[in-house]
């Protein structure tokens, strides 16, 4: 059910992001999707990779500060109103979204969005009850 996401602390300096991608390249890790959140001083790079453990080891060796977070990959109809419908269900049930971003690939008319929820268990329950598909991690990494 859960998708492992790595979030890495980066200072707002030229070349910082590339250092990470270089490291992942050398470790032969493939990024499936990513997003960068920024403030004026620092940014948080969030990535989902195909081999999470390998990436973690590489980051740890190089002394990066990073976290591993559980997020959900929610399937959304790839048409106008697709995301809206899902958000309506989430709001109706009082769930709180910390952040979300889109997954790069879509398949068979369905897009995938990555959600970070405050309360994971509750979110999984609500989504499944409302027939919204949550994509399993293992499936996602290989998409």
């Amino acid at each position: 059910m859960l998708v492992k996401q790595l979030s890495i602390f980066l200072e707002n300096k030229v070349g910082r992001l590339r250092e990470v991608t270089q490291l992942l390249k050398e470790s032969n890790v493939n990024i499936r999707t990513l997003t960068v959140s920024d403030t004026s001083d620092f940014g948080i790079l969030r990535i989902i990779v195909d081999d999470c453990e390998k990436a973690e080891r590489a980051l740890k060796d190089q002394g990066y500060t990073f976290n591993k977070t559980d997020v959900l990959a929610v399937e959304i109809k790839d048409e106008p109103g697709g995301l809206n419908a899902v958000l309506e269900i989430i709001d109706r049930n009082g769930l709180n979204i910390e952040y979300l971003y889109a997954f790069v690939l879509s398949r068979q008319g369905m897009a995938v969005n990555i959600f970070r929820f405050d309360n994971l268990e509750e979110a999984i329950k609500v989504l499944t009850q409302n027939n919204i598909k949550v994509v399993r991690g293992e499936e996602l990494y290989q998409l």
Binding site: F9, E11, T39, I44, T65, F66, N67, Y99, R116
Partner: protein, 465 residues
């Protein structure tokens, strides 16, 4: 000479006492860890009588042998005979760092070079280093004062001391070294640097005491952790940290991370090196100054007026037993206060409180006096903040801007921007509430703040004034 007979018999008696102490300790009778019971627990009247006699002898000697002091005294219209009580010391002119620099290298030595067996120099970060010298008896005095210091921290024969202070012109390394040998402890002269090897040696040799700067201690822990070594499995019982100011909160941090009792040691090469004062393990509250060798005063740095006991001001020392390089009313530029309260350890020597900073360490940010140690205190008080920080001062649009760089360690990192921003804000808020100055906080990646092997460079002042 009567004086040298007195000194020699004191040395003899001290040796007897030391042996007796050693025998009793070996037999397992618990006795307070005081190296020189006779002098360190001497009643005040006797101590002050000895101070006065030694002071008068020193003043006569420097007047006769050091042209600099003779001129200085003449300018103030005094002669050594005028000093008839310890109170009269306030009439004697001060000596400053600049005076030492002006007499570089050997201008203030009180003995011919034939009698000087050791030369040390201070780091001299601003301007010329200051050079000091020692006769054989000075080295013996210094060794005994360091033995007292190590003993006050709980060391004795059988203890293994991991000495990571730098060896060389800096007085730290050799100071501890000679003290340890004098005490009869086993010293590992590892000096600074090559940290990974130091960690391996700590595991293999099992030292029970460590001596180094507080910033290096934290660096050692970092490297040890990376190597998978936990200080709780090592055999340290105590550490003696000095050569730079450090806060009470930093002490808690060090005691927790290194799993030992952390004592502060104070000294400066101009006065003798380390071994001017030491914290006792019994109280860990203030450093006992070896008053039978150094007379301390606290003065108002602006007016030079001597302040009463308990008030904060600049620390001034007069050495009363040094031969090659005596100093008369030397202004240390260190800010502290004296605490005359009786100490539970039994020593009667006055304590000086933690040095909060030097009068020249102090930053003036938009008119407010700020010591780096104050900021350190605030940071160390907050949970999970790494003890690696740096202050950067800039002048932007004619206003001073202080930025505090704080490393984001694993403990404090969150996946959520808002958590990190809240952290930045709470640091700013805490600093503002404690010190009254608004600072900007910048979170930086771990290991980006340079680690030091000696004194940490806490402040980068970019203002060109």
């Amino acid at each position: 000479m009567v004086t040298s007979f007195f000194v020699n018999s004191m040395i003899y008696i001290e040796t007897i006492i030391k042996r007796w102490f050693y025998i009793y300790k070996k037999k397992g009778l618990s006795i307070s860890m005081i190296y020189n019971m006779d002098f360190e627990t001497m009643p005040r009247e006797a101590l002050e009588a000895i101070q006065l006699r030694r002071l008068q002898e020193t003043l006569s000697r420097v007047y006769a042998t050091v042209p600099f002091y003779q001129e200085k005294f003449k300018e103030s219209g005094i002669v050594p005979k005028d000093i008839r009580s310890l109170e009269d010391l306030k009439h004697v002119p001060f000596t400053t760092k600049q005076d030492l620099r002006d007499n570089y290298p050997f201008g203030m030595f009180a003995v011919p070079m034939e009698n000087v067996v050791r030369i040390h120099a201070s780091s001299g970060t601003t301007g010329r280093p200051t050079v000091v010298g020692y006769t054989a008896r000075d080295i013996e005095t210094w060794s005994r004062l360091m033995a007292r210091s190590l003993c006050a921290a709980g060391a004795g024969p059988g203890d293994i001391i991991h000495n990571a202070y730098g060896y060389g012109l800096f007085t730290g390394g050799l100071g501890v070294h000679y003290g340890a040998e004098r005490l009869g402890a086993s010293v590992i002269p590892i000096s600074g640097g090559n940290t990974k090897r130091q960690v391996i040696i700590m595991q293999d040799f099992g030292p029970t005491l460590i001596t180094c700067t507080p910033s290096y201690a934290l660096h050692l822990v970092e490297v040890a952790t990376e190597m998978g070594v936990n200080f709780k499995e090592l055999k340290f019982k105590a550490g003696i940290f000095g050569a730079e100011p450090w806060s009470e909160n930093m002490r808690q941090e060090i005691e927790e991370k290194l799993n030992l009792k952390a004592m502060d040691i104070y000294g400066l090469s101009e006065v003798i090196g380390p071994g001017v004062s030491i914290e006792c393990v019994e109280a860990q509250n203030g450093l006992h100054i070896f008053e039978d060798h150094f007379i301390p005063e606290i003065i108002n740095p602006e007016t030079g007026e001597v302040l009463p006991l308990g008030e904060t001001g600049e620390l001034v020392f007069t050495s009363i037993t040094k031969e090659a390089f005596p100093v008369i009313r030397y202004r240390t530029r260190d800010i502290t206060s004296l605490n005359p309260d009786p100490c539970i350890c039994g020593r009667t020597h006055v304590r000086m409180n933690r040095v909060t900073g030097r009068s020249d360490d102090m930053l003036i940010i938009r008119g407010v006096n700020v010591f780096p140690s104050q900021i350190e205190s605030v940071l160390m008080e907050m949970d999970n903040i790494e003890p690696h920080y740096q202050l950067v001062v800039d002048r932007v649009n004619n206003l001073d801007m202080l930025t505090v760089l704080v490393e984001v360690g694993q403990q404090v990192f969150s996946d959520e921007i808002k958590v990190l921003q809240t952290l930045e804000k709470s640091i700013t808020k805490n600093i503002k509430e404690t010190i009254g100055v608004s600072t900007k906080v910048k979170l930086v990646e771990p290991k980006t703040i340079a680690r030091s092997e000696g004194k940490a460079q806490r402040v980068i002042d970019n203002r060109k004034i």
